[in-house]
């Protein structure tokens, strides 16, 4: 008991230390209320600690400590991503919207506003979304870093999607200061029958905390593809909070390449019948400092919904991969189809994979399954390829790509998928053998 009390104290102290350096941003009443409420949530929960069950596999210290650790700037030698894809670029530098680098924020079928601007308006639609889905996501599991974001984020975008948007919206995160400590909060409201694709790219920040709340109305669709940094020491904690209406679709794919520490949380609530949610991730990590964590929580609360989680991790030189995935099927969510797979390919003996694939089921007419495997590259396949004249190094790369394929297949758009594959090939060329 003494220990438990001590941890509570340590958590409170760490939270106070962090909060003492932060000021609630100015804004109109609606957002100030949301920020104040979020601040109380943070105080009540305290920021995470390594002894928290939900942080069992990933040390939260560097997310919690008052100052962000340095992440040296570097020259990006990768070619441009999706150069041929017509996109609407929205650029944030050190957490602040950069109008010059961004495209004109108007496009057919959607209205975009900066959070920094909207926060000053007396009345705004985002009042019904900002922090709202984040709170719902706190229901089963505490996510204090997301509440911290809701309280202190000064920028981000508020997108109201009213129709089928022809070109994707690309959020690009850049940084110029090696200690940039950034909170970005986005709200995406998708009207019935509307459809949008959101891309997230760029190195991020020394410490990046993003929250994206996505409200998906009946018969609408949300596509999300994210590429997370490479070859530098940024730390990122991200949270996607989404709610799906009838017959709607949510699809998200994330590629994580290096960076020191990444925790991607995704909280999905299927509240309308026949809704579909897919969340996938491919991760390639090199080096003992690399730590990547996918934490997913899917709640089935309606009839005949489908959810799919596909996570693949390739780890080498002492890298660590984490997967915590949960499917919760509520009492009335009959005919649920829930599928979850998490697999790790360990390219050497020092890398590790830690997983907690969970099912919690209260409805009887469901088909839910999860699988998790961990192992080395298959020697027989390697031998076969070599016997066909493929050099060992190349054969290994081929098998790595084959292993990741199931996750990559979750990307519907072929041009976007090609861009991801190029990035992966680049990683293999830099980090192979």
């Amino acid at each position: 008991m003494a220990l438990a009390r001590k941890i509570i104290q340590v958590k409170q102290d760490a939270t106070d230390a962090r909060l003492s350096l932060l000021d609630l941003p100015d804004g109109a009443t609606w957002i100030t209320e949301a920020r104040n409420a979020a601040m109380s949530r943070v105080k009540k929960m305290s920021l995470p600690h390594g002894r928290d069950e939900y942080w069992k596999f990933t040390k939260p210290d560097t997310f919690v400590q008052p100052e962000a650790l340095k992440a040296p700037l570097f020259d990006n030698d990768e070619g441009p991503l999706w150069a041929d894809v017509d996109r609407l670029k929205v650029v944030f530098v050190d957490g602040i919207f950069d109008a010059e680098a961004s495209d004109d924020l108007s496009s057919e079928g959607l209205v975009i506003e900066r959070l920094a601007v909207a926060a000053l308006k007396d009345i705004h639609w985002a009042k019904d979304l900002y922090g709202v889905l984040e709170i719902r996501g706190q229901d089963a599991v505490q996510r204090p870093l997301a509440a911290l974001n809701t309280a202190f984020a000064t920028d981000g975008i508020l997108v109201h999607v009213t129709g089928k948007v022809s070109k994707p919206l690309n959020l690009i995160y850049l940084y110029n200061s090696e200690t940039s400590d950034v909170n970005l909060h986005h709200c995406i409201k998708i009207d019935a029958g509307a459809e949008v694709t959101i891309l997230e790219t760029g190195p991020g920040a020394a410490r990046l905390n993003t929250v994206m709340e996505v409200d998906i109305a009946d018969n609408s669709a949300f596509h999300h593809i994210r590429v997370q940094g490479r070859d530098h020491e940024r730390r990122a904690v991200t949270g996607i909070f989404t709610r799906l209406g009838h017959e709607s679709t949510f699809k998200s794919f994330t590629l994580t390449m290096n960076g020191v520490l990444t925790r991607n949380e995704c909280v999905i609530e299927l509240t309308g019948d026949n809704a579909i949610a897919h969340v996938a991730g491919a991760c390639v990590g090199d080096g003992k400092d690399f730590h990547q964590d996918d934490t997913v929580f899917i709640t089935h609360d309606s009839f005949n919904c489908e959810s799919r989680q596909v996570f693949k991790k390739v780890l080498r030189n002492g890298a660590t991969g984490v997967f915590q995935g949960k499917i919760l099927v509520k009492k009335d969510a009959q005919k649920t189809d829930g599928y979850q797979i998490s697999q790790a390919l360990l390219l050497d003996d020092n890398s590790q994979f830690l997983a907690k694939p969970e099912l919690e089921i209260y409805a009887d007419d469901v088909a839910c399954s999860h699988g998790s495997t961990t192992g080395a590259i298959d020697e027989n396949s390697l031998f076969y390829l070599q016997s066909r004249g493929v050099p060992k190094a190349e054969a290994t790369d081929l098998l790595v790509l084959a292993f990741l394929a199931e996750a990559l297949q979750e990307i519907e758009d072929t041009m976007l998928a090609e861009g991801i594959l190029e990035r992966l090939n680049g990683w293999l060329a830099r980090h192979g053998h």
């Binding site: 438990a4 790790a344 003996d349 830690l354 997983a355 969970e358 839910c368 399954s369 699988g371 192992g375």
Partner: protein
């Protein structure tokens, strides 16, 4: 019912046996109590109670010291709350920690001297304390084969062991099988060397409580190169009201030895929940093998969740030697609350751990059970097959850990957890932890959750079975992999239990 059981009965089992097992049908069958004069320790828990238990067992000072240290640690600990079970707060001061039949005040020299009433209790439960009979009360089964399988029994009644059968025959083979209180007196060197080395006194809240107040249990030592000549068994009966049972089992299998150990438990129907917190420690030296089977049938409480046993058990095997093998098999049908994770520490190279479990929760029962496989040695293997069945308003959780340490090269784990839901008011949950820290090991985990297949039910119904029989048959099929791992006598009982526990859950 005939058709139902004929399908699953193994070859060589005659109709009498089948009928005898079928006679088990009924709702909770062991809910009667034995009316006997008891002697209780004062209500509640304190250092004095710990001293009293130690004194009653005529223990040496080192044992008392160990208990007191555990008690002091327990006072600083917090009840765990991570399991998916929900029950009213236990008042540890409102329990009796020691209850013994008056007639056991002077320990009888042999079972013949034991109070007939107590012996009757076991006869009624179908547990033979005569040395010619076999387990499960399958009368007539002796004629079934030429050499009936012998089972030695240690009968534990509330806080004390009544006696142990087949002592002489076992001691000829060098096997020590006695109650742990006797072992502390007669084999202190062994007990002192091994007790608490697998489950340290302060391992967890309930294990710590057990270390402080355990009153009896079984002790087994199988010497080098010995295959235990018969199956060993402990039968736990809780009889007294408002009394917790805290037993401790210690099994040491020396190099190259083998033992199959069975454990059974029942309790009378009572309105007030009772506490059962046990510890089982297994120690295996090179090439040893232990097969540990449990049919847990504690009173589950009534359909409204009144009464029942709170079952908080710590079971762990330490594979100290190379090439050892442990097999945990459990059929968990009873208890209001089950909190139990039989585990294997696969320390020795090439060791093997297996866990087969059927957990059935009906009405208001809650089960949170599973296993831990800790792979430390090279080329260690583990296999987990868990079948959870929920019916009524019950909650059933599989919780497990597979951990491959960096040095456990070329190790292997296969896990399969299946859950079956009968009805739409129950829950089935899976919480596995997987930690892989080297790349030459392979870990595979699979889990599914489904309902009883309508096509299968329809097929059974079309063959003339009523709905409950059909469900029982489908469920038995679902559990087959686990039932097959049980010793024969247990498999029969378990099959019958599977049917009984689900009775009334259909519709």
């Amino acid at each position: 019912m005939d058709t139902l059981h004929q399908v699953d009965v193994k070859e060589g089992v005659d109709q009498d046996t089948v009928d005898a097992v079928q006679a088990l049908s009924g709702t909770y069958k062991h809910g009667w109590n034995t009316d006997i004069e008891m002697e209780y320790a004062p209500l509640g828990l304190s250092e004095d109670i710990v001293r009293l238990i130690s004194k009653k067992n005529e223990e040496p000072q080192w044992m008392l010291d160990w208990r007191l240290e555990a008690y002091a640690r327990w006072l600083t600990m917090k009840e765990p709350d991570w399991a998916m079970v929900d029950y009213p707060k236990i008042d540890f001061q409102d329990q009796y920690y020691y209850a013994r039949p008056k007639s056991m005040e002077v320990k009888p020299k042999s079972l013949d001297e034991v109070d007939p009433k107590l012996l009757e209790t076991y006869a009624k439960l179908g547990i033979p304390l005569k040395e010619q009979a076999i387990l499960a009360g399958v009368e007539g089964a002796e004629e079934m084969s030429d050499a009936p399988r012998k089972v030695a029994v240690d009968a534990v009644f509330d806080s004390v062991s009544l006696g142990t059968t087949f002592k002489d025959e076992l001691s000829k083979a060098g096997v020590i099988f006695c109650s742990i209180s006797e072992a502390i007196k007669n084999h202190p060197e062994l007990v002192r060397k091994y007790l608490g080395t697998v489950i340290p006194a302060a391992d967890n809240y309930y294990a710590c409580l057990n270390a402080a107040v355990f009153s009896d249990g079984s002790f087994v030592y199988i010497p080098k190169g010995t295959k235990c000549p018969m199956e060993l068994s402990t039968y736990f009966r809780i009889n007294a009201e408002n009394t917790g049972q805290f037993e401790r089992t210690l099994i040491i299998a020396d190099e190259g030895s083998f033992v199959s150990y069975l454990e059974g438990c029942t309790a009378p129907k009572r309105d007030i929940a009772q506490l059962h917190a046990a510890c089982v420690e297994l120690i295996l030296m090179d090439d040893a093998e232990i097969k540990y089977s449990t049919v847990q049938n504690w009173f589950p409480g009534d359909e409204n969740g009144v009464g029942g046993i709170y079952n908080f058990v710590t079971k762990r095997a330490d594979c100290r030697g190379d090439r050892t093998k442990v097999m945990w098999t459990q059929v968990e049908t009873g208890s209001a609350v089950t909190w139990k994770y039989p585990s294997c520490i696969l320390r020795g190279d090439d060791s093997q751990g297996e866990f087969y479990s059927i957990a059935i929760a009906n009405n208001m029962q809650q089960a949170d059970t599973g296993t831990k496989m800790i792979h430390l040695g090279k080329r260690t293997k583990s296999r987990i097959v868990s079948k959870g069945i929920s019916a009524g308003k019950a909650q059933n959780t599989y919780r497990g850990l597979v951990s491959m340490h960096p040095k456990a090269k070329e190790s292997r784990n296969y896990t399969q957890c299946d859950s079956l839901l009968i009805g739409d008011k129950c829950g089935a949950h899976t919480v596995p932890y997987i930690e892989v820290k080297n790349n030459s090991s392979r870990v595979e985990h699979e889990a599914t959750t489904s309902k009883v297949d309508d096509d299968q039910l329809f097929y059974c119904r079309s063959r003339g079975m009523d709905e409950e029989e059909a469900v029982a048959l489908v469920v038995n099929g679902f559990c087959k992999e686990v039932l097959q791992a049980l010793p024969m006598e247990f498999a029969m009982e378990a099959q019958a239990l599977v049917a009984i526990s689900l009775e009334g859950s259909v519709g």
